[in-house]
């Protein structure tokens, strides 16, 4: 299954190179960036059990550092993600020394505080962070790589896709190392891990630094795609979007975050273009995943066919029950017909949920 998914991912990433539509390339580049970002986030959430609300700090600051290095020293563009990753690691060494002293709830709150601190500092020092406009690069200005200048989006996308595959492979290899198994042990039973001689805080710190490296790579991939890094890149909104993508995809399987990233970018482009209520649907879907499918979409796919059918049907019925009244509310009129559709659907959804639980 993982091998099949990996092949599908590589083929899908290669697809837009043959069409050469700029919107398609930009969309796929965004997806590839979020895939790397979500996979790096899952090294924390899935493997170490650390819920972070400040992961964008590492990707954003890595991208800022890479943008400055690129503008000042003219580093070849294909090597830029490494620089961003190393810068993010340095940031993680500083902040991680504070945050990884604690786990669980306290860790989540500390990362939230650090995230807000960095986001506020970006506004305080406009000289380095570029204030409102951010820091821009011209990706064609670096030394060219054989015949490629990376000016056209197609060449830049090829670079992003290659880095996406390389980073995903590296993270897959990392998730099979003894280090990652230790992180799993710290997640499941920190007292026991400490008893056999591995300090949990140290393991958490190492995992955070490793995860920050890949987050920095993701930040630079986004920088290569849009040629801009601004205060949004370190903000809370970006941190929460990667959290949502990872949880929706599923933290239990390695490929879960990939599915989540693909779904989130697809729906954020497709649904946001037709409905203003898109964040509402995302929030409700997130709540549904947390309650009804804690293993995420990847976990749903692994269930047997019968409960999968029930689950899909239930989700669809709930979807109708939610979408109809929300759209009616947004349109500014509360219609009796909307409730006539929504209420039976909600009741049917409740009944289906009960059936599924009874069947399990």
């Amino acid at each position: 299954m993982p091998r099949f998914l990996a092949l599908a991912l590589v083929l899908a990433l290669a697809l837009p190179l043959f069409f050469d539509q700029s919107w398609l390339l930009a969309y796929f580049a965004q997806t590839a960036t979020l895939i790397v970002f979500a996979l790096s986030y899952n090294l924390l959430l899935g493997d170490t059990g650390l819920l972070s609300f400040g992961h964008a700090v590492y990707s954003g600051l890595g991208a800022f550092a890479a943008a400055h290095v690129f503008n000042r020293y003219g580093v070849p563009l294909p090597l830029l993600p490494v620089i961003g990753g190393c810068a993010a690691m340095l940031v993680a060494i500083v902040f991680g020394a504070i945050s990884t002293q604690r786990a669980g709830t306290a860790f989540a709150m500390i990362t939230l505080g650090i995230g807000e601190l960095v986001a506020a500092c970006v506004w305080l020092v406009p000289g380095w962070f570029g204030g409102e406009g951010g820091v821009t690069i011209d990706r064609a200005s670096g030394p060219s790589f054989f015949a490629w200048s990376f000016g056209p989006l197609r060449e830049a996308y090829a670079l992003i896709a290659c880095w996406c595959v390389v980073a995903a492979l590296a993270m897959f290899a990392f998730s099979r190392t003894p280090m990652c198994r230790l992180a799993n042990a710290v997640r499941d039973n920190p007292a026991r891990a400490a008893a056999i001689g591995f300090a949990p805080a140290r393991v958490r710190f190492t995992m955070l630094v490793g995860s920050a490296f890949f987050a920095g790579i993701a930040g630079v991939l986004s920088l290569i795609n849009v040629e801009l890094v601004s205060s949004e890149g370190v903000g809370l909104a970006r941190s929460t979007s990667v959290l949502v993508a990872t949880v929706i995809g599923g933290t239990g399987a390695f490929f879960g975050p990939v599915i989540g990233a693909v779904l989130l970018t697809f729906f954020s482009v497709a649904v946001a273009s037709v409905s203003a209520a898109w964040p509402m649907y995302l929030g409700l879907f997130f709540v549904w995943v947390v309650i009804a499918a804690p293993e995420g979409v990847a976990g749903l796919l692994r269930r047997d066919a019968r409960s999968l059918c029930f689950g899909a049907l239930g989700a669809m019925v709930w979807g109708v029950a939610v979408v109809v009244p929300v759209e009616a509310l947004y349109a500014g009129r509360i219609d009796v017909r909307a409730w006539l559709i929504a209420l039976p659907c909600a009741l049917l959804g409740l009944w289906l949920a009960r059936r599924t639980r009874a069947a399990r």
Partner: protein, 313 residues
Amino acid sequence: MLQWFCVSLLNGVSVGLLLFMLSAGLTLIFSMLGVLNFAHASFYMLGAYVGQALAAYGGFWFGLIVAPIVVGMAGALFERLLLRRVHARGALGQMLLTFGAAIVIGEGVKLAWGLGPLPAAIPPVLDGPLFTLYDASFARYRVFMMSIAVLMLGALWLVLRISKTGLVVRAALTHPATVETLGHDVPRVFTMVFAIGTALAALGGVIGAPLAVIEPAMADAMGPIVFVVVVIGGLGSLGGALVASLLIGCVQTFAVGASASAGSIAASLGVTLPPAWSALTVAQLAPVLPYLVLVAMLAARPRGLFGERTHDA
């Protein structure tokens, strides 16, 4: 100087008490259910909106009393119908659920009341200055706010200390299994505590709204500060939350009024800063200061002011 100090201190204490109304509920919920309610600031915002809507219907006092009840019931429903279903899965699932609830409440507020800011009216009785202190007037509304906060928290403390319900709640905090064996319905106590915590947050929203505007971003502005307060005070410690609330309230108010700059402070310490940094005034740094205090506190004392030593270290 003395005048500025006194007024800033009073303002700081009033902001701190407002913060404590939120952090008290958050701390109670955390120590009881083991979950840091990420949607707490959203219930605060919901309280402000519902209070405004009710005030337009039946006057300020009607909104002040009814809005916390309405939001508290919404909180109870949330705990009973959703949060309880993920309780067995541990802190991570619960925190994710409350995070999702924060998104949904934030979007729901936009759906129901629109994106624009709403004004919050102050009743004429509470408008105007109450007293002047060294030629500076102090607003009547702030005194009202402080007294409501002190009254509510005093009542909460009394209920927890004296009444039998309070005894059950305090026992359920530390020994839920034993309390259940003695025949008390611990899950119902959980629901009640969650309802009271969210009602307190909503009350904070109703009385805090006239100091700012009611807008969909108010939860995002308030939430991180309240979490900072709770972590600085030590997770699960009510006394710590009180001290940290007053500390953060005063730090923010004093910083806004201060005229020193980072460069002059660094110069008095014998350090020179790069020009980009030294031009920053303390007033500009005010939004960052709570987080700086948080980082400094955690570097020095990872468990917070009055927090207990945890097992995850």
